[in-house]
């Protein structure tokens, strides 16, 4: 018993270290999908050794890696529902091993997923200070007419509030309310074409007028990624 457990732990440890060769790694990755005890052993090694990685000095990437990553993933994402079915199939595979659910149940799951309604149209805006790191990320769902606001920047300074504005071409900014939470959703009934979104820094509770009174700290355009 103990010897078996040590074998699993030794292999899992070497897998995490990265010292096993390519063929062994491929075998280990297959085993990760099928063997819950191996999966747990690997996760435990990742956690045990993580402090060694924490000693390396953090360093932001110098180029816009995220754009490169999204460009590489464009095909995956373009597949929309397809990739979700792949993901679900993988999960189903795992359930077969872990919980030994029946093939019939798995089939039902796949059918349910194939009957899902198509993905809604999504628009995204990243609000940045001029040339700086993103402060807010906004997504618009044009089917549900919702806007999801995610604050990445620090919260507004004490005594101040962030207020979100939508600016249609040639129109006055329209307030979409004060940002109260780090992430929230609100209805949006504006055309998504050429919409500019901006965050201004206002007195606590928001602009006392119907227009921005403070500086615009983050802004960006809504795009269809």
């Amino acid at each position: 018993m103990a010897a078996d457990a040590d074998d699993i732990d030794a292999l899992a440890g070497e897998y995490v270290l990265g010292t096993i060769d390519e063929a062994e790694r491929r075998a280990a990755e297959a085993r990760l999908q099928s063997d819950p005890s191996f999966r747990a052993a690997v996760a435990a090694w990742e956690i045990r050794l993580q402090p060694l990685s924490d000693t390396a000095r953090s360093q932001p990437p110098s180029r816009d890696l995220f754009a490169e990553i999204m460009a590489r993933l464009a095909q995956d994402i373009g597949r929309g529902d397809g990739s979700e079915v792949v993901a679900l199939r993988r999960r189903v595979t795992r359930w077969r091993y872990v919980a030994a659910i029946t093939t019939a149940a798995a089939a039902v799951l796949l059918v349910v997923s194939l009957n899902r309604t198509p993905a809604p149209e999504k628009y995204v805006a990243t609000l940045t200070p001029q040339g700086g790191a993103p402060g807010f990320i906004l997504t618009v769902d044009t089917v549900k007419h919702t806007l999801t606001v995610s604050r990445v920047a620090e919260a507004a300074p004490a005594g101040k509030s962030y207020e979100l504005w939508a600016i249609e071409p040639g129109a006055q900014p329209k307030s979409l309310g004060v940002v109260e939470q780090a992430r929230y959703q609100r209805p949006l009934d504006l055309p998504t074409n050429n919409l500019t979104l901006a965050i201004s820094l206002e007195p606590e509770g928001g602009s006392p007028t119907s227009a921005p009174t403070g500086p615009v700290v983050f802004s960006g355009n809504l795009i269809k990624p």
Partner: protein, 186 residues
């Protein structure tokens, strides 16, 4: 798991369902750390950036495999990034002659007193103590493998031992570390 990882857990769950915003949040939170781990293996920032790019592609594709009941998000992502860096290294020439084969003293010092805000000081101290408890050459092997991505073959050259012996020594050291960290100390 440090408390501030709970948002990474929920973000990874969202990424598994194809949520790009969550993916961006994960990237912003973790890219500097993954850069750090891959840079140490690859020795240059631009090579590290290529490996980190590959790592996030894998993170997106494998987010569905992340199991929050047993795994830590940052440790899971670090493994993916380190493996991406090791793939780059393995496809290049052997590095034993070019590298000193010594462990940077900063790593052990850093482990004893972590500066990284995300690091768990207690876990660092325990790992430091247990690493110091194994014989110096074996400790160096484990650390060259983990921190610098050395293969068994590279370690065999550096320590002038057969590859099979290196495998045995690595595995014994790992089991000793595990026992020490779990406090069973057999």
């Amino acid at each position: 798991m440090p408390a501030d990882q709970s948002d990474l857990v929920s973000a990874l769950a969202a990424v598994a369902k194809g949520d790009r915003l969550a993916f961006r949040l994960i990237y912003q939170r973790t890219a500097p750390k993954l850069m750090a781990a891959t840079r140490r293996i690859l020795g240059s920032s631009s090579a590290a950036e290529d490996a980190v790019q590959e790592a996030y592609v894998r993170i997106w594709r494998h987010a569905v495999d992340f199991d929050a009941r047993i795994a830590s998000p940052i440790a899971w992502m670090t493994t993916i990034a380190r493996h991406a860096a090791i793939d780059v290294v393995r496809s290049g020439p052997e590095r034993v002659s070019a590298a000193s084969g010594e462990i940077d003293a900063d790593i052990l010092e850093g482990l004893a007193s972590p500066a990284d805000a995300g690091a768990d000081p207690l876990a660092s101290a325990r790992l430091s103590g247990c690493l110091n408890g194994i014989e110096a050459d074996r400790r160096t092997m484990v650390m060259l493998a983990y921190c610098n991505g050395w293969s068994r073959e590279e370690l065999a050259k550096r320590f002038d031992r057969p590859v099979a012996t290196i495998k045995t020594l690595l595995r014994r050291s790992l089991i000793a570390l595990k026992d020490c960290l779990s406090g069973s100390g057999r």
